[in-house]
C-alpha cells in the first residue's frame, strides 16, 4: 500500500489515527472537572498542532536530511500567509486556490533565498537565511505596510473586491473562508457525550488531511534516492563531489521543498484565520521551528510533529492557567497547604509559561539527546524488555536509515 514498507506503513497509520481521532484524544478530561484546563481538543489549538506539524516536517526535510540549519524559515510561512490573505481579499474565500498560491509563492521565494544562501554552508548559511528573513520581517513591519498592513497584520475588510465572491455578506459581515460554497472552515460539529464534549471542525480536518499528505510525502522523500543523496550531503560533501554528484541542486531542491511546506503551513494558517501578521516572519518564529525539530528529534520522521505539538501545547495551555485556576485545583486542601502549593506552582504557569518551556528544553536536551523520539524509544524498550520478543525499535520513532 502506498509504496511504503511495513514499518513506514504502520507509522503512517498511527499518525493518521492520532490526527483523525485528535478531537477525542486531546479532550480526555470531562467538562467542568479541574483537569479540563489541560484539554487541548478545541479547533484552534488542534489546527495549530497540525499546521506547525507540517511546518516542522518540511523544516526537517532540509535540516534533518541535509544538516543545513536555516534560521529564516519563518519567512516562507509568512509569505505563504500573505499570499493566501491577498487571495481572499482579491479573488474569493475559497481556500484551495489560496493554499495553492501560498505554496507556489513560498516555493519561489525559497528558490530565490536558497539560491543565494546555499553558496555558503554551516553557520554562514544559517546567518544568511537569518538575514534574509529578518529583512523580510523588518520591511513587512514598516516600509511594506501597503502590502502587509504592518504591525496589525493583513486582514480582510468589507471593501475588498473579491471578484469571484462577495465583498460583504447580506447581513453586512465579511464572508468566511470555505472549501466549497457552504462548507465553511469554521463549521464545527459538536458531539456531546455525557460530561465530555468533542468538537469536530471542518478546518481542522482539512489541515489534518494535508498533514497526512505532507507526512506521507515526507516518508517517500526520506526513503527515496533523493533522500539518500540529501543524507549523503550531510555526511560528506567532498565525497559527493568526487562521486560525480552536484550537491547544489540537491540542497536547493530540499530547501525549496521545505520552503513549500512552510508556505503550505502559512496558507493553512491564513485559511483557518484570515489574518497574516508580520511576527510570523520574525527570527523568533524561525527559531521556534528549529526548536520544535530538535526537541522532537531532528532527522526522524515523527519527531518534528511531536516537537511542534509540545511547544504549542505549552504556549496555549500553560499560559492560560492563572492563580484563580490553581486555587480551584487545590481547593480541597487545607488553606495553608493550598496557599503554599499555589505559591510554589505560581512562577511556572500563566505569565511564567516561558520559564516552564525553557526548563523543559534543557531537561529534554540533557536527558534525551535524540529528542522526544528518544524518550518514546526508551519507553518502548522498557516495555519490550518486559515482554519476550525483544525485537527492533518502534518503527515510528526510529531515525531514518
Amino acid at each position: 500500500m502506498f509504496g511504503l514498507n511495513q514499518k513506514d506503513k504502520s507509522t503512517l497509520i498511527v499518525v493518521a489515527a492520532l490526527t483523525l481521532l485528535a478531537p477525542f484524544i486531546l479532550n480526555p478530561f470531562p467538562e467542568g472537572s479541574a483537569l479540563a484546563q489541560f484539554n487541548a481538543g478545541y479547533p484552534d489549538l488542534m489546527q495549530r498542532f497540525v499546521i506547525f506539524g507540517i511546518f516542522a516536517i518540511g523544516f526537517n526535510i532540509l535540516f534533518g536530511l541535509t544538516g543545513y540549519l536555516s534560521f529564516g524559515h519563518a519567512a516562507f510561512l509568512g509569505v505563504g500567509s500573505y499570499s493566501a490573505v491577498w487571495m481572499f481579499k482579491l479573488v474569493g474565500m475559497n481556500v484551495l486556490p489560496a493554499i495553492t498560491l501560498s505554496v507556489i509563492v513560498a516555493g519561489l521565494f525559497a528558490l530565490l533565498i536558497g539560491f543565494v544562501s546555499l553558496r555558503r554552508s554551516g553557520i554562514y548559511f544559517s546567518i544568511l537565511t537569518l538575514a534574509f528573513a529578518q529583512m523580510s520581517f523588518n520591511l513587512a513591519y514598516s516600509v511594506l505596510t501597503p502590502i502587509t498592513n504592518g504591525e496589525t497584520g493583513l486582514q480582510l475588510t468589507l471593501n475588498d473586491p473579491r471578484v469571484l465572491g462577495q465583498s460583504a455578506t447580506a447581513d453586512g459581515s465579511i464572508p468566511v473562508t470555505n472549501l466549497l460554497p457552504g462548507l465553511e472552515m469554521r463549521s464545527t460539529y459538536v458531539l456531546d457525550a455525557g460530561p465530555w464534549l468533542f468538537q469536530f471542525n471542518l478546518g481542522y480536518y482539512l489541515c489534518a488531511l494535508l498533514l497526512l499528505v505532507a507526512f506521507y510525502v515526507s516518508i517517500r522523500i526520506f526513503r527515496s534516492p533523493f533522500g539518500m543523496m540529501l543524507r549523503a550531503v550531510k555526511s560528506n560533501q567532498q565525497r559527493m563531489n568526487y562521486t560525480g554528484l552536484n550537491t547544489r541542486p540537491y540542497t536547493l531542491a530540499a530547501f525549496v521543498i521545505s520552503g513549500m511546506y512552510a508556505g503550505l503551513a502559512g496558507g493553512l494558517m491564513a485559511s483557518m484565520d484570515p489574518l497574516a501578521g508580520a511576527e510570523r516572519m520574525q527570527w523568533t518564529a524561525s527559531g521556534e521551528v528549529v526548536l520544535m525539530t530538535i526537541l522532537g528529534g531532528a532527522g526522524t520522521l515523527i519527531g518534528p510533529v511531536l516537537g511542534a505539538g509540545f511547544i504549542k501545547y505549552f504556549e496555549n495551555i500553560f499560559s492560560k492557567i492563572n492563580d484563580n485556576v490553581l486555587h480551584g485545583w487545590f481547593a480541597i486542601l487545607p488553606d495553608g497547604i493550598e496557599d503554599f502549593l499555589v505559591f510554589v506552582v505560581h512562577p511556572f504557569i500563566g505569565k511564567g509559561w516561558h520559564l516552564t518551556l525553557g526548563i523543559l528544553f534543557m531537561l529534554v536536551v540533557i536527558y534525551l539527546p535524540g529528542g522526544l523520539v528518544e524518550g518514546g524509544q526508551r519507553i518502548g524498550k522498557y516495555f519490550k524488555r518486559g515482554s519476550d520478543d525483544a525485537q527492533s525499535n518502534d518503527a515510528s520513532t526510529k531515525p531514518a536509515e
Binding site: N5, I221, P225, R231, S235, Y242, T243, G244, L245, E401
Partner: protein, 253 residues
C-alpha cells in the same frame, strides 16, 4: 597518445612555485605511479586533474577533452574517480548505501530529482551495489554504519565505490598511507586484482616504494614541482638521478 595528457602545467601559491613545468602522459590501461619526496607537488598535481585546483599554465586533457575549469563532479562524470589519502566515505550511511550512491551517480548523472520512488525499488542499483560488495569481500558488512568500519575496510569500501562507477581512470592518493603492513598488502592485492580483472587505467601517487614497485608499469619521479624522469620500475630503481634525489634521501632518513 595517453588517456591523460598533461602539458606544461604550472602552479604558484604566492611566492612558492608548487609545479614548474609538468609534462606527463598516462597510457590507457596502464598503472602509472607518480612518486617524489614530500613537497614535490604530487598532491597539487593530482588536484589539478580533478578540478580542485586550476593550474596557472598548461593543459590537462582527459581522453581528448580539457578538464580545466570543470568542477570535480563534472570531471568525475567524464570518467575519473578519486580515492583520497584518508578514506572519504559517507560515515553516517550504511555500507550498502555507500555503495549505491556512486551507482546512482553513474546511472542518473550529477543530479536527478528522484524524490518519490523508493530506494528499495531500484533493482538495477541494488544488484550492482551488491555485486560490488561481493567483489570487495564486504557483503557481510552491508548493514554496518560506514563510520564504524576498520581503516582497511574503509579504504576497501572507498575503492569499491569508485569502481562501481566503472571509471576509465582511477586516481589513488597515497592509498596505503598510515596503514599497517598487513592492510597495505591487502590493498596491494586488491589493486592487482582490479588491474587484472578490469579495463582500467590507474594513476597512483605514493610514498611507499614497496607499493609502487609491486604495482606500477611506469613511474614518474617528481622533485620540486618538475618531473625528474619517467621510466619503467626497473629502470627507475637503478637510475642515478633518482637515487640521488629521492631514494638517497629516503635512505638517509
Amino acid at each position: 597518445m595517453g588517456i591523460l595528457e598533461v602539458k606544461n602545467v604550472g602552479k604558484r601559491f604566492g611566492g612558492l612555485q608548487a609545479l614548474g613545468n609538468v609534462n606527463l602522459s598516462v597510457a590507457e590501461n596502464s598503472v602509472h605511479a607518480i612518486i617524489g619526496p614530500n613537497g614535490a607537488g604530487k598532491s597539487t598535481l593530482l588536484n589539478c586533474f580533478v578540478g580542485k585546483l586550476i593550474p596557472d599554465t598548461g593543459s590537462v586533457m582527459f581522453d581528448g577533452q580539457s578538464v580545466l575549469g570543470r568542477k570535480p563532479f563534472e570531471i568525475n562524470q567524464m570518467g575519473i574517480s578519486r580515492v583520497f589519502q584518508t578514506p572519504e566515505i559517507f560515515g553516517d550511511l550504511s555500507v550498502m548505501e555507500n555503495m549505491m550512491i556512486p551507482c546512482f551517480a553513474k546511472r542518473d548523472g550529477a543530479f536527478e530529482m528522484n524524490a518519490l520512488s523508493s530506494v528499495s525499488s531500484q533493482r538495477d542499483i541494488h544488484e550492482k551495489a551488491e555485486q560490488m560488495l561481493v567483489d570487495m569481500n564486504m557483503a557481510d558488512k552491508r548493514h554496518m554504519n560506514a563510520a564504524s568500519l576498520s581503516r582497511g575496510d574503509k579504504r576497501r569500501l572507498e575503492i569499491g565505490m569508485c569502481l562501481s562507477q566503472d571509471p576509465r581512470l582511477l586516481l589513488l592518493d597515497e592509498p596505503t598511507a598510515g596503514m599497517a603492513r598487513a592492510d597495505t598488502n591487502n590493498t596491494i592485492d586488491l589493486l592487482k586484482q582490479i588491474k587484472e580483472e578490469r579495463d582500467i587505467t590507474i594513476a597512483i601517487i605514493e610514498h611507499d616504494m614497496h607499493v609502487v614497485f609491486s604495482l606500477a608499469e611506469r613511474i614518474t619521479v617528481l622533485a620540486q614541482g618538475t618531473p625528474l624522469v619517467e621510466d619503467t620500475p626497473d629502470n627507475i630503481k637503478g637510475h642515478p638521478k633518482v637515487r640521488e634525489a629521492y631514494l638517497g634521501e629516503t635512505a638517509a632518513a
